[in-house]
């Protein structure tokens, strides 16, 4: 039976259309049909200048964990224009990006629970609550709750809000409460036998297949691929900090959930180290931006492809300059795009509910898939 799942289906997390062929309740074939949320993001970036105008747009690719996207653009543009970033700004970047990663993972955990439980269940609301706490902190820091526009080429736009002690305290409170909150999620979902029955051994993708599909991020790490750009291709302040890359060998929906929850812990570890550093930073060395010219015109025909570790995986940007202050070609490599492609390998032969769960465990953000 041919079944259209989406584009308006409660579990597609946006507008996604899965052309599904069913054999009874089992999935014989599934083909994601994307493009419903295409907003010409690449074209818009090509029409705006490097210095200021592009930065608000990355926030709108992966709109659940926005700051890593900003870093993706900042990294590529700083490479292209040979801009240095002050160390202090690097720490601010690292801290804020890890907050954003928690934000993204909280939503991913919540919506995945939603897909498995159905209706507005407690887990989803608790995850949203914890996400809100992060948003409060980031609002204090950046001035917005989602579309931060916090990064600038050569640094960030704002130092920590005054009074700093209050901010540090707020962050510390959050970090201190986090283990308890995570424990609650474990009580709620991961130790629940029915939940385990639903997720363990479903949506399986082995490491080889995942590599073939170009999977990155939590999806790859849940298949045992030890791959994290923060460590493998270091940028920012990551290689100065003490943290681990989380991997799981389950290859299934459950493993992907576990990877996300453990990554939240790692992010918290990173944040608390950043906070320690920021607290002791000498007051006269708090450079948040380096000196960047008002107009940036990189040499013509310079080409660069750089990637960072977004919340969903490897987020790369290719830029070719043509000597003007706007990119000639701006290409975004979105992790969700590749991860979504692997759905067909995961869902083959599974039941419809597992297809939905696998989709949820991939944590695709259609804004990033379609761009």
């Amino acid at each position: 039976m041919f079944l259209n799942i989406g584009p308006h289906h409660p579990a597609t997390h946006g507008v996604l259309h899965l052309k599904t062929v069913l054999d009874g309740e089992q999935v014989a074939d599934v083909e994601p049909d994307i493009g419903y949320l295409h907003r010409c993001e690449e074209q818009m970036c090509q029409n705006n200048n490097y210095r200021h105008q592009i930065m608000p747009y990355p926030d709108r690719w992966d709109y659940t964990a926005n700051l890593p996207n900003e870093w993706a653009y900042a990294r590529v543009a700083e490479d292209l224009n040979d801009i240095e970033v002050p160390e202090y700004a690097q720490i601010l970047r690292t801290m804020s990006v890890e907050f954003a990663r928690i934000m993204g993972h909280m939503l991913a955990v919540g919506t995945f629970a939603l897909d498995v439980y159905g209706d507005f269940t407690a887990t989803f609301m608790y995850a949203i609550r914890d996400r809100e706490l992060v948003q409060n902190i980031l609002e204090d820091l950046t001035g917005q709750r989602m579309m931060f526009n916090y990064f600038r080429l050569g640094g960030v736009v704002w130092d920590l809000p005054e009074p700093r002690e209050e901010f540090f305290e707020k962050v510390r409170d959050f970090i201190d409460d986090l283990p308890e909150a995570l424990e609650e999620y474990h009580d709620l979902i991961t130790t629940n036998e029915i939940f385990q029955k639903r997720t363990i051994g479903t949506g399986v993708i082995d490491a080889e297949t995942a590599k073939q599909y170009g999977c990155t991020g939590p999806v790859a790490r849940a298949s045992g691929i030890d791959y994290d750009l923060r460590r493998d291709d270091p940028y920012g302040y990551y290689d100065e900090l003490d943290w681990d890359v989380v991997t799981e060998d389950g290859c299934d929906n459950f493993a992907r959930l576990l990877v996300r929850m453990r990554e939240v812990e790692e992010s918290a570890k990173l944040i608390s180290q950043c906070v320690d550093l920021l607290e002791d930073w000498p007051e006269d060395e708090r450079d948040i931006q380096s000196n960047v010219p008002r107009t940036l015109k990189p040499d013509a025909d310079t080409e660069v492809y750089r990637a960072v570790e977004g919340a969903k995986g490897e987020l790369g940007i290719y830029v070719r300059s043509d000597g003007t202050d706007k990119p000639a070609r701006f290409k975004i490599r979105s992790p969700c795009f590749n991860n979504l492609h692997s759905l067909e390998a995961m869902a083959q032969g599974e039941y419809v509910p597992d297809l939905i769960a696998a989709l949820g465990s991939l944590d695709v953000i259609l804004g990033e898939v379609d761009r």
Binding site: H17, D79, Y213, V304, Y305, G316, K331, D370
Partner: protein, 165 residues
């Protein structure tokens, strides 16, 4: 590769970034390499559109580039071009770009899908054409009706100019 720059002064340039020996790779690929190019992130090889599978297979199987990170398609005045950004899962800092220029009149190149499964979607995105020969075009041309070609829904495929299809 000499001009690969790191944005962050305080960071050491990772040792591994220098370990890709592009001369060795060039020898490996032999006369399939038309020209060498240097991008900021990595060196690149310009190849013929018909050599895509052979070149990528060689790079994957013999040089270990098992990660097709990205596929960029773009339009120049005189040609279309697609760039395969290859890397390794084991060591992300080793990168190589494979550049495939193609004619404006008959824009196509061999598909990389048999080598990297993920190329299937990337090429579809790049070309807006999925069936038959995987034509690599950066812009929708007259015969490329996306609905007819069975692209991903025929909506919002992107291609060099980013015009909604």
């Amino acid at each position: 590769m000499s001009d690969a720059r790191e944005p962050d002064s305080e960071l050491e340039v990772p040792e591994t970034r220098e370990t890709v020996d592009y001369d060795e790779l060039a020898d490996l690929l032999g006369d399939r390499v038309i020209r060498r190019e240097d991008h900021l992130n990595a060196g690149g090889f310009v190849i013929h559109p018909g050599d895509v599978q052979t070149v990528l297979r060689t790079l994957r199987d013999e040089a270990g580039f098992d990660h097709l990170s990205c596929l960029t398609a773009q339009e120049y005045e005189d040609r279309y071009e697609s760039i395969y950004h290859l890397s390794k899962y084991a060591d992300r800092t080793q990168e190589v770009n494979v550049i495939v220029p193609t004619d404006k009149e008959d824009p196509w190149n061999e598909s990389a899908a048999p080598i990297y499964k993920t190329a299937e979607w990337h090429e579809r995105e790049a070309s807006g054409q999925a069936t038959g020969r995987r034509a690599e075009r950066t812009r929708q041309s007259a015969h490329g009706d996306p609905a007819e070609d069975g692209v991903t829904g025929g909506r919002g495929l992107e291609h060099g100019l980013g015009v909604p299809v």
